[in-house]
């Protein structure tokens, strides 16, 4: 089930601001394990699982379902499409990609490139700028305009690829891998007893500044908020101290964005249940939903779990499935560990 969820999630298109299709997949998979599903004004999806306590405290989980992508900026006289980015797209990764333009109907296109035969020597050394790239859908201007208008979203066409050793590669694993963690957590909780109400929130618009998490946190007003996002996975060229290994468990974040007691409890639970975990140190901003959640209303005790991911913000993002499973398990046991706990006492400094 986890694999099929991941496949459907990653292959669904949902550029920041256009998360509708991804939300449908989330709803389908989360519904059997939730008491209620809600969509808020910004488009974030809440899967609510009620707790057993009389006056239940609220735990909010947040993983973002939006993905970085492109947007139609101009259709030129010959029908070629100029575009801009939504979120942190690396322009070096765009040349010769197959794309889908989500207009009145979906149109396939390719981002072309100048033949190497006629490149100037100086051009060979430089990366091409996004503003100089064009999408070719094979139609003249008048035809393109029937289907495409300024502001339409564009995604890269990419299926989830199974690599060896339980690894998968694809687009949008940042942060649909986090959404899959919430699915695993809800599934675990379905055969456990928990006091707290759990709000598993698939947020929108994280990639442009956690804009979905801010109003969602205000709306829910949780006692504890935990963001699930992706972190830099280790590859040979990256420094060891800034990365985490794939397959060695989820990272538990620590730093100014994270309430120390939430961190301590996550570590304690991981040790108690032999769940592998790694550490992730953030001296300041984490750039995740946790950063927005923490300063909502009177402040929220926040935690951060991240899944090690290689090649971030490309269409070949790579994660290991066992890390997702372990993160889901860790969160479920964390939530159950709060049974009978006076959170105010636990969370005071």
């Amino acid at each position: 089930m986890l694999r099929s969820l991941l496949k459907e999630l990653v292959e669904a298109h949902g550029v920041t601001g256009f998360e509708h299709e991804a939300a449908k997949v989330v709803e389908k998979y989360f519904l059997p394990y939730s008491d209620e599903i809600k969509i808020d004004k910004m488009g974030s999806l809440y899967a609510i699982k009620k707790g057993k306590a009389d006056n239940p405290k609220k735990i909010m989980l947040a993983a973002h379902m939006d993905e970085i992508g492109l947007m139609v900026k101009k259709i030129d006289d010959k029908g070629f499409i100029q575009f801009t980015n939504v979120g942190g797209v690396d322009q070096r990764t765009l040349l010769t990609q197959e794309v889908i333009i989500h207009g009145k109907k979906d149109l396939f296109g390719v981002i072309g490139s100048k033949p190497p035969h006629i490149l100037e020597a100086s051009e060979r050394e430089k990366s091409v700028k996004m503003e100089d790239m064009l999408i070719d859908v094979g139609l003249p201007k008048e035809e393109v305009e029937k289907y495409v208008s300024i502001g339409d979203s564009i995604t890269i066409r990419r299926k989830l690829l199974n690599l060896q050793n339980d690894m998968v590669a694809g687009k949008a694993l940042d942060d649909r891998a986090g959404v899959a963690v919430m699915y695993e957590c809800l599934k675990e909780l379905s055969h456990m007893k928990h006091d707290c109400d759990v709000y598993a929130v698939a947020t929108v618009q994280e990639e442009v500044g956690y804009r979905g998490a801010i109003p969602a946190t205000f709306e829910i007003s949780p006692d504890i908020g935990i963001a699930i996002d992706v972190g830099f996975g280790s590859t040979p060229e990256l420094p060891k101290d800034e990365t985490a290994d794939l397959g060695k468990g989820p990272c538990i974040g620590f730093g100014a964005n994270i309430h120390p007691k939430v961190y301590e409890r996550l570590v304690k639970v991981a040790k108690e249940y032999n769940i592998p975990y790694q550490q992730d140190i953030y001296p300041g901003a984490t750039g995740t939903d946790a950063w927005g959640m923490q300063v909502t209303r009177g402040g929220v005790s926040t935690g951060l779990i991240s899944i090690p991911l290689r090649y971030m913000h490309t269409s070949v993002e790579t994660v290991q499935i066992s890390d997702i499973k372990n993160a889901g398990k860790l969160l479920a046991y964390f939530i159950v560990s709060l049974n009978g706990e006076d959170l105010e006492e636990m969370l005071c400094y």
Binding site: D40, K41, M42, M71, K74, T84, G151, E219
Partner: protein, 327 residues
């Protein structure tokens, strides 16, 4: 018909971010009698309410403009300064600036060999004083000034400082005057401190707690020689925002604006602004979220003392806003 007299007062009045007193009074005088209630909040936002039984709509246009603040005055009476909002050293050089009391100055620069090295820290304001003492009779550290450029209107174009965003204020004022039968409760908010991070709109939206937000601001154009690609052109209609760096327009608000423009044959353009933000950026993240959009007036040379807009675009913006509010 453009109200030239009002435009002149709006555009030439002093009001860098944090110093909106004078411009607030100009607007307050102008809208007297047109709103059911007029108030000023703790940060200085001017809020005019047009009562109704329907949804609460917040319309925001910012009163503040970019400017400079005095940081130091040297022994010879030359004034060092820093920016308030997005001031480019290239557009500031040799411009005239005006302090709140009307004191005028010109922006000069130290000897530099390469114009690429131009920074505000190498520049100074000369008010014609020969000593520190003489300068300090008129100007003190912390004083602010706006750029000085008289308003010009001829044919279809308007040229002035502070069109960003007094032209938005103008659109709001004219819409407030024209609005007769709105089923909605409309809050016309003239915000402060937009140029330093959408700060007035943030608290105003919290206070108003609207169901929908509409910001009125200027946007850039792609119609000048070898400009960065952008589909918005001056004179080709009001601009309905798709995105900028602060907001992705809410689909329902965007649709409402586009459909209203089409139904009323109001020329419009779709706007993707690859930089900058507007009050909607703050409004839409207020409380549990506020569906928000933006009506923009295409403007050339934004953040210069000679910003330029088209009268037709301004009129179309007013018309679109009124029709949207009446829906």
């Amino acid at each position: 018909m453009i109200n030239k007299d009002l435009l002149k007062r709006l555009l030439e009045t002093f009001g860098p971010s944090g110093n909106e007193e004078a411009i607030r009074e100009v607007i307050r005088e102008e809208i007297k009698g047109y709103a059911d209630e007029i108030k000023v909040d703790a940060l200085g936002n001017l809020i005019a309410v047009k009562k109704g039984n329907g949804k609460k709509i917040m319309v925001a246009s910012h009163m503040d403009e970019i400017g400079i603040m005095v940081t130091n005055i040297d022994d010879n009476g030359f004034i060092r300064f820093t920016n308030i909002g997005g001031v480019s050293p290239y557009t500031a050089l040799y411009q005239r600036v005006m302090f709140a009391d009307g004191t005028m100055g010109v922006v000069g620069v130290e000897k530099i060999d390469n114009m690429k090295d131009l920074t505000l820290s190498k520049m100074f304001i000369d008010i014609g004083a020969y000593s520190k003492e003489e300068a300090m009779k008129k100007v003190n550290v912390g004083d602010v000034a706006c750029f000085y450029a008289p308003f010009v209107q001829d044919g279809d174009y308007i040229m002035s400082k502070a069109l960003d965003d007094r032209i938005g204020c103008y659109v709001a004022i004219e819409a407030l005057k024209a609005l007769k039968n709105s089923p909605n409760e409309v809050y016309f908010v003239f915000t402060v401190q937009e140029e330093v991070g959408l700060r007035g709109a943030k608290t105003a939206a919290y206070g108003v707690d609207p169901d929908m937000g509409i910001a009125l601001d200027v946007t850039l154009t792609g119609d000048t020689p070898k400009a960065k690609t952008m589909e918005v052109k001056m004179g080709k209609g009001t601009a309905i925002k798709i995105k900028d760096n602060s907001v992705l327009a809410h689909p329902t608000v965007k649709k409402l604006m586009i459909e209203t423009a089409q139904e009323n044959n109001i020329p419009y353009q779709l706007e993707i602004l690859e930089g900058g933000g507007t009050d909607s950026g703050a409004i839409h993240l207020t409380k549990s979220g506020v569906p928000s959009g933006v009506i923009s007036v295409p403007c050339r040379y934004v953040h210069s003392p000679s910003e330029m807009v088209s009268v037709k675009d301004v009129e179309n913006s007013i018309q679109l806003l009124v029709k949207v509010l009446e829906k």
